[in-house]
């Protein structure tokens, strides 16, 4: 790792001030992606601003028929939360299957979505559940939040504070994971929401997480695995790497989508 300074502010206001004062500074959430990145010297922030001491960013609470999860909620906390299990069991299950046990004990919701890794799990849940990302400055619909590979709508020095997930009528997440890294080779989150069926794919897209309108329309008309049997995804905009070719990923999107629909029972 290159050298950096470290700060641990006690409030959101202090953290924002520290970020503004350090143009090359970076917020540190759970560190499960950032620290490995720093070890590889792929980034060289002048300062790390640790968000772990900020109580305002923690906590999980019900809000009507939605659940609001603080940005610094650890994956293990989300998985074990009675509120999340009761409101959106598919989301609790997703959180409980990220990485491994020790990664889940440190990694956070806010860190995951702000990083927007194309193979991360949470972006698929945010998009399919029509979640709202809350920041220190505004609210951003998930549809507008994830803008590309490792890119989000966040401005410089803007921090995610929480995410609001409205409860769907039913939802499920299915992922085909890389057995070594446990990242999604393809993951599909499907949800029957008030606004129709929403289906989001992670792991596959060259530009990150994406929705599949053709499948959503078919499932809104007939919510069954056979309704999307004939719908294929062109491999043109999909990732191809040593783990899976774009064509294989395209195939897996269909398989995981049908399994997710079937899992909704």
């Amino acid at each position: 790792m290159y050298e950096f300074e470290y700060r641990r502010p006690a409030s959101l206001a202090e953290a924002l001030e520290a970020l503004r004062a350090a143009p090359e500074g970076k917020p540190l959430a759970g560190g499960q992606t950032l620290l490995p990145t720093l070890k590889q010297r792929l980034a060289s922030p002048s300062e790390l601003i640790d968000l772990a001491g900020i109580d305002e960013l923690r906590g999980i609470a019900r809000d009507g028929d939605a659940v609001v999860i603080g940005a610094m909620a650890r994956h293990a906390e989300v998985a074990a939360s009675a509120d999340v299990q009761a409101t959106i069991p598919a989301l609790a299950a997703l959180a409980g299957d990220i990485g491994d046990r020790q990664v889940r004990n440190r990694g956070t919701l806010g860190g995951s979505i702000a990083n927007n890794d194309p193979a991360a799990d949470y972006p698929a849940a945010c998009l399919a559940l029509a979640a709202t990302v809350r920041t220190n400055a505004r609210e951003i619909a998930a549809d507008d939040f994830f803008t590309g590979l490792f890119e989000t709508a966040l401005e410089e020095d803007e921090l995610v504070t929480a995410v609001r997930f409205p409860a769907p009528a039913m939802a499920a997440y299915m992922k085909f994971k890389n057995p070594a890294s446990r990242y999604a080779i393809v993951g599909v989150f499907v949800a029957r929401t008030a606004g129709g069926v929403r289906l989001a794919v992670t792991g596959a897209g060259a530009g990150g997480v994406f929705r599949v309108p053709a499948m959503e329309a078919a499932l809104t008309a007939d919510f069954s695995p056979s309704a999307i049997e004939g719908i294929t995804i062109p491999p043109d905009d999909l990732n191809s790497d040593i783990h899976a070719s774009a064509e294989y990923r395209a195939h897996l999107v269909g398989v995981m989508a049908r399994r997710a629909v079937a899992a909704c029972g």
Binding site: Y6, R8, L35, V103
Partner: protein
């Protein structure tokens, strides 16, 4: 610039001067000379470096020492009470849950958190629960057996 970091390690208050980029595992091994915690892959995959921070298992190669400021850290050295091994350590010994022993400290630390309050944890749950710990010798069979026995002993 070095900073002072203070924490409780295995029940003792410790502090040291570290650079902010010092990993928790480096602080434990190089500053405190607690070399029971191992570094295997250094990429947060193998789990040889697992310790407890405030009773929660973490990979100490993927946490900065300064992030553990004020925390209670337990390493493999902090488990035994004098000459008597922790029930999970004893279970690994009894069931021959190791061959070369390199992954063992991390395995034991992960296992203790995994089975806490779960005397009847199933084999499947154990296998899934230790997927953050790699062993290249045993084929895991005796490790799983050890953890099952340790779960009974710890919660008995």
């Amino acid at each position: 610039m070095p900073v002072t970091v203070s924490m409780t390690v295995n029940g003792k208050a410790v502090s040291g001067e570290v650079e902010p980029r010092t990993l928790l595992v480096q602080f434990l091994r190089d500053h405190l000379r607690l070399t029971g915690t191992h570094v295997g892959c250094d990429t947060s995959q193998c789990g040889a470096c697992v310790v407890h921070v405030d009773d929660v298992s973490v990979k100490s190669c993927t946490m900065l020492a300064v992030q553990a400021e004020g925390a209670r850290v337990t390493t493999i050295e902090g488990l035994a009470q004098g000459d008597s091994l922790h029930p999970m350590q004893e279970a690994f010994r009894e069931n021959h849950g190791l061959q070369c022993g390199f992954c063992t400290p991390g395995m034991v630390m992960s296992a203790i958190e995994l089975v806490r309050g779960r005397p009847d944890i199933s084999e499947d749950e154990i296998r899934k629960g230790i997927d953050g710990n790699l062993c290249r010798c045993t084929g895991y069979h005796n490790i799983v057996k050890s953890i099952k026995a340790g779960a009974q002993a710890m919660n008995g």
